[in-house]
Symmetry: C2
Protein backbone atom coordinates (compact mmCIF):
# COMPACT_ATOMS: atom_id res chain seq x y z
CA UNK A 1 0.00 0.00 0.00
CA UNK A 2 1.25 3.48 -0.81
CA UNK A 3 2.08 5.42 2.34
CA UNK A 4 -0.25 8.30 1.53
CA UNK A 5 -3.15 5.83 1.71
CA UNK A 6 -2.17 4.57 5.17
CA UNK A 7 -4.04 5.89 8.19
CA UNK A 8 -2.28 8.28 10.56
CA UNK A 9 -2.52 5.68 13.35
CA UNK A 10 -1.18 2.95 11.06
CA UNK A 11 1.71 5.03 9.78
CA UNK A 12 2.79 6.17 13.25
CA UNK A 13 2.64 2.59 14.57
CA UNK A 14 4.68 1.31 11.61
CA UNK A 15 7.20 4.09 12.20
CA UNK A 16 7.52 3.04 15.86
CA UNK A 17 7.94 -0.65 14.98
CA UNK A 18 11.20 -2.43 14.24
CA UNK A 19 10.41 -2.37 10.54
CA UNK A 20 13.34 -0.44 9.02
CA UNK A 21 11.09 1.67 6.79
CA UNK A 22 9.55 4.15 7.17
CA UNK A 23 12.33 5.81 9.18
CA UNK A 24 13.60 9.32 9.83
CA UNK A 25 13.78 10.20 6.12
CA UNK A 26 10.19 9.28 5.31
CA UNK A 27 8.96 10.92 8.52
CA UNK A 28 10.86 14.11 7.57
CA UNK A 29 9.08 14.15 4.21
CA UNK A 30 5.72 13.92 6.01
CA UNK A 31 6.62 16.63 8.55
CA UNK A 32 7.70 18.84 5.63
CA UNK A 33 4.37 18.20 3.89
CA UNK A 34 2.51 19.18 7.09
CA UNK A 35 4.57 22.38 7.20
CA UNK A 36 3.77 23.30 3.59
CA UNK A 37 0.09 22.48 4.18
CA UNK A 38 -0.14 24.98 7.06
CA UNK A 39 1.17 27.72 4.75
CA UNK A 40 -1.46 26.76 2.18
CA UNK A 41 -4.16 26.84 4.86
CA UNK A 42 -3.23 30.41 5.71
CA UNK A 43 -3.39 31.37 2.00
CA UNK A 44 -6.77 29.64 1.66
CA UNK A 45 -8.12 31.51 4.70
CA UNK A 46 -6.84 34.84 3.35
CA UNK A 47 -7.90 34.84 -0.31
CA UNK A 48 -11.31 36.38 -0.93
CA UNK A 49 -10.99 38.69 2.10
CA UNK A 50 -11.41 42.37 1.20
CA UNK A 51 -8.78 43.41 3.73
CA UNK A 52 -6.11 41.38 1.89
CA UNK A 53 -7.31 42.01 -1.68
CA UNK A 54 -3.98 43.55 -2.72
CA UNK A 55 -2.23 40.20 -2.04
CA UNK A 56 -4.82 38.04 -3.83
CA UNK A 57 -2.80 37.39 -7.03
CA UNK A 58 0.43 36.58 -5.22
CA UNK A 59 -1.36 34.31 -2.73
CA UNK A 60 -2.90 32.32 -5.59
CA UNK A 61 0.57 31.90 -7.14
CA UNK A 62 1.96 30.76 -3.78
CA UNK A 63 -0.86 28.23 -3.43
CA UNK A 64 -0.03 26.64 -6.79
CA UNK A 65 3.63 26.30 -5.87
CA UNK A 66 2.89 25.09 -2.33
CA UNK A 67 0.55 22.39 -3.61
CA UNK A 68 3.26 21.12 -5.91
CA UNK A 69 5.86 21.06 -3.09
CA UNK A 70 3.38 19.33 -0.78
CA UNK A 71 2.72 16.60 -3.34
CA UNK A 72 6.44 16.13 -3.96
CA UNK A 73 7.05 15.67 -0.22
CA UNK A 74 4.18 13.19 0.16
CA UNK A 75 5.61 11.14 -2.74
CA UNK A 76 9.04 11.17 -1.07
CA UNK A 77 7.75 9.17 1.90
CA UNK A 78 7.73 6.10 -0.38
CA UNK A 79 10.60 7.17 -2.61
CA UNK A 80 12.86 7.28 0.45
CA UNK A 81 11.77 3.79 1.50
CA UNK A 82 12.44 2.40 -2.00
CA UNK A 83 16.17 3.00 -1.56
CA UNK A 84 16.36 0.88 1.55
CA UNK A 85 16.11 -2.59 -0.05
CA UNK A 86 18.88 -2.08 -2.68
CA UNK A 87 21.13 -0.72 0.07
CA UNK A 88 20.35 -3.63 2.38
CA UNK A 89 20.98 -6.10 -0.50
CA UNK A 90 24.30 -4.43 -1.34
CA UNK A 91 25.51 -4.88 2.24
CA UNK A 92 24.60 -8.56 2.00
CA UNK A 93 26.59 -9.27 -1.20
CA UNK A 94 29.34 -11.91 -0.85
CA UNK A 95 32.88 -10.69 -0.20
CA UNK A 96 34.84 -13.97 -0.32
CA UNK A 97 37.05 -13.27 -3.37
CA UNK A 98 38.74 -10.06 -4.53
CA UNK A 99 36.35 -9.92 -7.51
CA UNK A 100 33.36 -10.22 -5.18
CA UNK A 101 34.75 -7.53 -2.90
CA UNK A 102 35.21 -5.14 -5.86
CA UNK A 103 31.72 -5.88 -7.17
CA UNK A 104 30.17 -5.37 -3.72
CA UNK A 105 31.98 -2.08 -3.27
CA UNK A 106 30.71 -0.79 -6.61
CA UNK A 107 27.11 -1.81 -5.97
CA UNK A 108 27.20 -0.45 -2.41
CA UNK A 109 28.71 2.87 -3.58
CA UNK A 110 25.87 3.36 -6.08
CA UNK A 111 23.19 2.31 -3.57
CA UNK A 112 24.54 4.82 -1.04
CA UNK A 113 24.55 7.61 -3.64
CA UNK A 114 20.97 6.74 -4.56
CA UNK A 115 19.99 6.71 -0.88
CA UNK A 116 21.25 10.32 -0.56
CA UNK A 117 19.02 11.54 -3.36
CA UNK A 118 15.67 11.66 -1.54
CA UNK A 119 16.85 13.34 1.68
CA UNK A 120 18.76 15.85 -0.50
CA UNK A 121 15.49 16.61 -2.32
CA UNK A 122 13.66 16.92 1.02
CA UNK A 123 16.18 19.64 1.91
CA UNK A 124 15.71 21.35 -1.47
CA UNK A 125 11.91 21.29 -1.30
CA UNK A 126 11.71 22.40 2.35
CA UNK A 127 14.15 25.22 1.55
CA UNK A 128 11.76 26.44 -1.17
CA UNK A 129 8.75 26.02 1.10
CA UNK A 130 10.42 28.15 3.79
CA UNK A 131 10.76 30.95 1.21
CA UNK A 132 7.04 30.59 0.45
CA UNK A 133 6.32 30.98 4.17
CA UNK A 134 8.43 34.16 4.14
CA UNK A 135 6.09 35.46 1.44
CA UNK A 136 2.97 34.25 3.31
CA UNK A 137 3.90 35.81 6.66
CA UNK A 138 3.75 39.30 5.08
CA UNK A 139 0.46 38.68 3.27
CA UNK A 140 -1.58 36.14 5.26
CA UNK A 141 -4.56 36.89 7.51
CA UNK A 142 -3.44 38.01 10.97
CA UNK A 143 -6.15 35.75 12.44
CA UNK A 144 -4.20 32.63 11.50
CA UNK A 145 -0.66 33.97 11.44
CA UNK A 146 0.40 31.53 14.19
CA UNK A 147 -0.10 28.72 11.68
CA UNK A 148 2.69 30.20 9.53
CA UNK A 149 4.87 29.98 12.65
CA UNK A 150 4.00 26.29 13.11
CA UNK A 151 4.51 25.60 9.40
CA UNK A 152 7.95 27.09 9.39
CA UNK A 153 9.01 25.18 12.51
CA UNK A 154 7.98 21.90 10.87
CA UNK A 155 9.85 22.82 7.68
CA UNK A 156 12.97 23.71 9.64
CA UNK A 157 12.87 20.36 11.48
CA UNK A 158 12.35 18.48 8.19
CA UNK A 159 15.22 20.43 6.60
CA UNK A 160 17.60 19.48 9.42
CA UNK A 161 16.51 15.82 9.31
CA UNK A 162 16.97 15.75 5.54
CA UNK A 163 20.57 16.85 6.00
CA UNK A 164 21.11 14.32 8.79
CA UNK A 165 19.95 11.51 6.49
CA UNK A 166 22.25 12.72 3.71
CA UNK A 167 25.16 12.83 6.19
CA UNK A 168 24.57 9.24 7.34
CA UNK A 169 24.92 7.95 3.77
CA UNK A 170 27.77 10.27 2.76
CA UNK A 171 29.87 8.92 5.65
CA UNK A 172 30.21 5.59 3.83
CA UNK A 173 30.68 6.85 0.26
CA UNK A 174 34.23 6.61 -1.14
CA UNK A 175 33.84 9.10 -4.04
CA UNK A 176 35.26 12.18 -2.30
CA UNK A 177 34.24 14.59 -5.09
CA UNK A 178 30.60 13.44 -4.85
CA UNK A 179 30.71 13.62 -1.05
CA UNK A 180 32.10 17.13 -0.92
CA UNK A 181 29.76 18.50 -3.58
CA UNK A 182 26.68 16.92 -2.00
CA UNK A 183 27.67 17.99 1.53
CA UNK A 184 28.25 21.60 0.48
CA UNK A 185 25.07 21.88 -1.61
CA UNK A 186 22.89 20.47 1.15
CA UNK A 187 24.59 22.33 3.97
CA UNK A 188 24.27 25.70 2.22
CA UNK A 189 20.53 25.18 1.73
CA UNK A 190 20.10 24.14 5.36
CA UNK A 191 22.00 27.13 6.73
CA UNK A 192 20.09 29.57 4.49
CA UNK A 193 16.79 27.84 5.27
CA UNK A 194 17.34 27.99 9.03
CA UNK A 195 18.05 31.74 8.86
CA UNK A 196 14.90 32.46 6.82
CA UNK A 197 12.78 30.13 9.01
CA UNK A 198 13.96 31.89 12.18
CA UNK A 199 13.21 35.26 10.61
CA UNK A 200 9.68 34.15 9.65
CA UNK A 201 9.08 32.78 13.14
CA UNK A 202 10.29 36.05 14.70
CA UNK A 203 7.81 37.93 12.45
CA UNK A 204 5.00 35.71 13.70
CA UNK A 205 6.02 36.35 17.32
CA UNK A 206 6.09 40.12 16.67
CA UNK A 207 2.66 39.99 15.05
CA UNK A 208 1.28 38.23 18.14
CA UNK A 209 3.04 40.41 20.74
Amino acid sequence: MKSDQKTLAGFVEELASKSPVPGGGGAAALVGALGVALGSMVCNLTVGKKKYAEHETRLHEILVEATSLQQALIAMIDEDAEHFLPLSRAYGLPQGTEAEKTKREQVLEQALKDACSVPARIVEVCRKAIDLHAAIVDRGSRLVISDVGCGVQFLKAALICGELNVTVNLAMIKDKVFVQRMRETVHRQVEEGKIVADRVYASVESALA
Copy 2:
Protein backbone atom coordinates in the same frame (compact mmCIF):
# COMPACT_ATOMS: atom_id res chain seq x y z
CA MET B 1 -14.20 10.21 11.26
CA LYS B 2 -11.50 10.21 13.92
CA SER B 3 -8.31 11.82 12.63
CA ASP B 4 -6.17 8.78 13.36
CA GLN B 5 -8.29 6.84 10.85
CA LYS B 6 -7.77 9.40 8.08
CA THR B 7 -5.20 8.70 5.38
CA LEU B 8 -1.97 10.69 5.34
CA ALA B 9 -2.95 12.22 1.98
CA GLY B 10 -6.44 13.08 3.26
CA PHE B 11 -5.18 14.63 6.48
CA VAL B 12 -2.53 16.75 4.75
CA GLU B 13 -5.09 17.98 2.17
CA GLU B 14 -7.58 18.82 4.92
CA LEU B 15 -4.84 20.69 6.79
CA ALA B 16 -4.04 22.73 3.64
CA SER B 17 -7.71 23.54 3.01
CA LYS B 18 -9.61 26.51 4.39
CA SER B 19 -11.30 24.27 6.93
CA PRO B 20 -10.29 25.83 10.29
CA VAL B 21 -9.49 22.44 11.85
CA PRO B 22 -7.13 20.69 11.84
CA GLY B 23 -4.70 23.58 12.25
CA GLY B 24 -1.29 24.18 13.77
CA GLY B 25 -2.25 22.63 17.12
CA GLY B 26 -3.46 19.33 15.69
CA ALA B 27 -0.52 19.19 13.30
CA ALA B 28 1.86 19.77 16.24
CA ALA B 29 0.31 16.80 18.05
CA LEU B 30 0.92 14.63 14.97
CA VAL B 31 4.51 15.86 14.52
CA GLY B 32 5.11 15.12 18.22
CA ALA B 33 3.70 11.60 17.76
CA LEU B 34 6.05 11.05 14.78
CA GLY B 35 8.95 12.19 16.97
CA VAL B 36 8.06 9.80 19.80
CA ALA B 37 7.59 6.97 17.28
CA LEU B 38 11.14 7.39 15.96
CA GLY B 39 12.50 6.99 19.49
CA SER B 40 10.42 3.82 19.88
CA MET B 41 11.72 2.52 16.55
CA VAL B 42 15.29 2.89 17.80
CA CYS B 43 14.39 1.01 21.01
CA ASN B 44 12.69 -1.74 18.99
CA LEU B 45 15.75 -2.10 16.74
CA THR B 46 18.07 -2.29 19.77
CA VAL B 47 16.34 -4.72 22.14
CA GLY B 48 17.39 -8.33 21.65
CA LYS B 49 20.85 -7.32 20.38
CA LYS B 50 23.68 -8.90 22.41
CA LYS B 51 25.81 -5.76 22.11
CA TYR B 52 23.17 -3.71 23.95
CA ALA B 53 22.04 -6.39 26.43
CA GLU B 54 22.94 -4.21 29.45
CA HIS B 55 20.31 -1.64 28.36
CA GLU B 56 17.53 -4.17 27.65
CA THR B 57 15.49 -3.56 30.82
CA ARG B 58 15.66 0.23 30.59
CA LEU B 59 14.79 0.19 26.87
CA HIS B 60 11.69 -1.91 27.56
CA GLU B 61 10.62 0.60 30.24
CA ILE B 62 11.18 3.47 27.80
CA LEU B 63 9.09 1.71 25.16
CA VAL B 64 6.13 1.42 27.52
CA GLU B 65 6.29 5.11 28.38
CA ALA B 66 6.87 6.18 24.76
CA THR B 67 3.87 4.20 23.55
CA SER B 68 1.68 5.92 26.11
CA LEU B 69 2.97 9.40 25.10
CA GLN B 70 2.51 8.56 21.41
CA GLN B 71 -1.11 7.52 21.97
CA ALA B 72 -1.78 10.66 24.02
CA LEU B 73 -0.45 12.85 21.18
CA ILE B 74 -2.47 11.03 18.52
CA ALA B 75 -5.63 11.55 20.63
CA MET B 76 -4.80 15.26 20.95
CA ILE B 77 -5.19 15.80 17.19
CA ASP B 78 -8.96 15.54 17.69
CA GLU B 79 -9.04 16.92 21.23
CA ASP B 80 -7.48 20.15 19.93
CA ALA B 81 -10.08 20.40 17.17
CA GLU B 82 -12.94 19.87 19.65
CA HIS B 83 -12.18 23.20 21.32
CA PHE B 84 -12.58 25.13 18.09
CA LEU B 85 -16.37 25.03 17.79
CA PRO B 86 -17.18 26.27 21.35
CA LEU B 87 -14.67 29.10 20.82
CA SER B 88 -16.15 29.99 17.46
CA ARG B 89 -19.67 29.92 18.98
CA ALA B 90 -18.58 32.14 21.87
CA TYR B 91 -17.29 34.78 19.45
CA GLY B 92 -20.66 34.68 17.71
CA LEU B 93 -22.75 35.31 20.86
CA PRO B 94 -24.90 38.48 20.80
CA GLN B 95 -23.49 41.58 22.47
CA GLY B 96 -26.42 44.00 22.14
CA THR B 97 -27.22 44.53 25.82
CA GLU B 98 -24.94 44.83 28.85
CA ALA B 99 -26.22 41.45 30.10
CA GLU B 100 -25.41 39.85 26.74
CA LYS B 101 -21.96 41.40 26.74
CA THR B 102 -21.24 40.06 30.23
CA LYS B 103 -22.54 36.62 29.31
CA ARG B 104 -20.48 36.55 26.09
CA GLU B 105 -17.35 37.60 27.96
CA GLN B 106 -17.79 34.81 30.51
CA VAL B 107 -18.40 32.11 27.88
CA LEU B 108 -15.54 33.36 25.73
CA GLU B 109 -13.15 33.47 28.69
CA GLN B 110 -13.90 29.84 29.53
CA ALA B 111 -13.67 28.73 25.88
CA LEU B 112 -10.26 30.41 25.58
CA LYS B 113 -9.02 28.72 28.76
CA ASP B 114 -10.25 25.37 27.43
CA ALA B 115 -8.56 26.02 24.08
CA CYS B 116 -5.22 26.45 25.91
CA SER B 117 -5.48 23.06 27.55
CA VAL B 118 -4.54 20.81 24.60
CA PRO B 119 -1.53 22.81 23.34
CA ALA B 120 -0.33 23.04 26.97
CA ARG B 121 -0.53 19.24 27.17
CA ILE B 122 1.30 18.92 23.82
CA VAL B 123 4.13 20.90 25.43
CA GLU B 124 4.04 18.71 28.55
CA VAL B 125 4.05 15.43 26.62
CA CYS B 126 6.74 16.52 24.13
CA ARG B 127 8.88 17.70 27.06
CA LYS B 128 8.67 14.19 28.58
CA ALA B 129 9.33 12.57 25.20
CA ILE B 130 12.48 14.67 24.76
CA ASP B 131 13.74 13.27 28.10
CA LEU B 132 13.05 9.76 26.80
CA HIS B 133 15.13 10.55 23.71
CA ALA B 134 17.94 11.69 26.03
CA ALA B 135 17.82 8.21 27.58
CA ILE B 136 17.60 6.51 24.16
CA VAL B 137 20.56 8.35 22.62
CA ASP B 138 22.90 6.80 25.21
CA ARG B 139 21.48 3.28 24.83
CA GLY B 140 20.15 2.85 21.28
CA SER B 141 21.86 0.98 18.44
CA ARG B 142 24.48 3.15 16.72
CA LEU B 143 23.14 1.89 13.36
CA VAL B 144 19.94 3.91 13.73
CA ILE B 145 21.12 6.71 16.00
CA SER B 146 20.28 9.31 13.33
CA ASP B 147 16.61 8.48 13.90
CA VAL B 148 16.94 9.73 17.50
CA GLY B 149 18.22 12.98 15.98
CA CYS B 150 15.17 13.23 13.71
CA GLY B 151 12.83 12.30 16.55
CA VAL B 152 14.15 15.02 18.81
CA GLN B 153 13.94 17.67 16.06
CA PHE B 154 10.26 16.83 15.52
CA LEU B 155 9.59 16.96 19.27
CA LYS B 156 11.33 20.32 19.56
CA ALA B 157 9.23 21.74 16.71
CA ALA B 158 6.01 20.36 18.26
CA LEU B 159 7.01 21.80 21.65
CA ILE B 160 7.52 25.29 20.17
CA CYS B 161 4.23 25.10 18.24
CA GLY B 162 2.41 23.96 21.36
CA GLU B 163 3.62 27.09 23.15
CA LEU B 164 2.69 29.28 20.18
CA ASN B 165 -0.88 27.95 20.27
CA VAL B 166 -1.09 28.57 24.02
CA THR B 167 0.18 32.13 23.50
CA VAL B 168 -2.45 32.89 20.85
CA ASN B 169 -5.26 32.02 23.26
CA LEU B 170 -3.66 33.60 26.34
CA ALA B 171 -3.48 36.92 24.52
CA MET B 172 -7.27 37.23 24.72
CA ILE B 173 -7.84 35.91 28.26
CA LYS B 174 -8.67 38.49 30.93
CA ASP B 175 -7.85 36.40 34.02
CA LYS B 176 -4.30 37.67 34.60
CA VAL B 177 -3.48 35.09 37.28
CA PHE B 178 -4.42 32.25 34.94
CA VAL B 179 -2.48 33.86 32.08
CA GLN B 180 0.70 34.35 34.07
CA ARG B 181 0.65 30.88 35.61
CA MET B 182 -0.02 29.16 32.28
CA ARG B 183 2.57 31.25 30.43
CA GLU B 184 5.27 30.53 33.02
CA THR B 185 4.55 26.81 33.28
CA VAL B 186 4.55 26.32 29.52
CA HIS B 187 7.54 28.56 28.87
CA ARG B 188 9.69 26.80 31.48
CA GLN B 189 8.97 23.41 29.89
CA VAL B 190 9.74 24.76 26.42
CA GLU B 191 13.05 26.33 27.47
CA GLU B 192 14.13 23.17 29.33
CA GLY B 193 12.95 20.95 26.47
CA LYS B 194 14.85 22.96 23.85
CA ILE B 195 18.08 22.66 25.85
CA VAL B 196 17.74 18.90 26.28
CA ALA B 197 16.70 18.44 22.61
CA ASP B 198 19.74 20.40 21.40
CA ARG B 199 21.98 18.31 23.66
CA VAL B 200 20.52 15.05 22.32
CA TYR B 201 20.94 16.27 18.73
CA ALA B 202 24.58 17.23 19.43
CA SER B 203 25.16 13.70 20.80
CA VAL B 204 23.76 12.24 17.58
CA GLU B 205 26.03 14.47 15.51
CA SER B 206 29.06 13.42 17.59
CA ALA B 207 28.16 9.75 17.19
CA LEU B 208 28.04 10.21 13.40
CA ALA B 209 31.20 12.33 13.09
